[in-house]
């Protein structure tokens, strides 16, 4: 089997496995829900640096200035995007050291942009509901996946620079 089909097959298999595990009640209770609450807390803390009206409760970010609030749900916590990135790095031929470093740094990059998404959506929602819907449902979804793709490409370059990958390791 050539490099590209093998890469895609392993990637899809790993992603399906990771996504299936993510949906189990155990993972939801002990990993996803605490993580989502953490995203809300970090986003809220960041916003409080310039907006003292921000409050957070669980996965909900609110403002004392109005009745507006957002709840961070599945798809907005960056978990799925991180799983996609991790599966793509694990499926690509590289050393385990590079994979581990890539997943840690890449996950941080994805989560950083996700916090930017949450903060921007919180203020967009107070400004214009239609713009919020567009940004929330379509634009930011695409931007987060673009982030995953760019991080993966950069990682592939770095992993390839530090070691001699076989020619067929390139997904060409």
């Amino acid at each position: 089997m050539t490099a590209m089909p093998r890469f895609l097959l392993v990637f899809v298999g790993l992603l399906a496995l990771a996504f299936g595990l993510e949906l189990t009640p155990w993972a939801q209770a002990f990993l996803v829900t605490p993580w989502t609450d953490g995203v809300a807390r970090v986003s809220g803390a960041l916003m409080r640096m310039f907006d003292a009206s921000i409050t957070t409760t669980g996965n909900v970010i609110a403002t004392t200035r109005s009745a507006f609030a957002v709840a961070i749900e599945a798809g907005c916590n960056g978990v799925e995007a991180t799983l996609v990135l991790a599966a793509a790095m694990l499926a690509f031929p590289a050393t385990w050291r590079h994979r581990l470093a890539g997943i840690v740094v890449g996950a941080a990059a994805v989560q950083l942009l996700n916090v930017v998404r949450v903060v921007s959506l919180f203020y967009l929602g107070q400004w214009n509901q239609q713009v919020f819907e567009w940004a929330h449902l379509y634009v930011w979804q695409a931007l987060i996946m673009l982030d995953v793709l760019i991080v993966w490409v950069i990682w592939v370059r770095i992993a390839g620079r530090h070691e001699s990958l076989p020619d067929d390791a390139q997904p060409a």
Binding site: F19, L149, I158
Partner: protein
Amino acid sequence: MARSEPMTTQTADAPAPRAPTVAGFTLRVLAWLPIAFAVWYFAAPVLLSPVVLLLRGVAWLGFADLVRGIEQSAAIATFVTALRPGDIAPRGVLTVDINLLLYAFGMPLFAALTFAAHEADWKRHLALGYVVLLPCAAWGGLADFLKNVAITAGPAVAAQTGFSAWQREAIAFAFQFGSLILPAVAPAVLWVALHGRFVAALRHRERK
């Protein structure tokens, strides 16, 4: 360059094409995204009509007892069911509106990525991407409809569907996969699969 020559052939005096950079590529994608989103949104009634055809085919094949018809209005697919809404309207039938844009936003992403890479085969890639992303959008739309009637609509409607417990679990998984993973991942994976040389060129530049 003559049409019959391979695309990689260069004359002795012609400058070699510049290898792409990740930064340049990212900026080009970001520049193309608003254009692609605008075209996608305004052309959605046409772009998504094959998705509705696919949904009709699948509903006819697999859910003929549940679905009487599927109508399209702009980007909304309305499933007209054979289900009763319950005590609220005992003579009525249940209809479910599904916003297909939710499951098709990968189309503008794929188009922006393809335009940014600007390979010789970009038209073929664009057409291929569109065709491959159609069933992905149909998956999301169908899973959303099934989730609505089997889970969200409540026990009075769910009981009429005849789905067992494990079938409802499968529907929930299909919906989560079709809404959280497939619409975003499919265009990215497809783009990598079709642009292996471009991705390799990005690597090559860094390794010089």
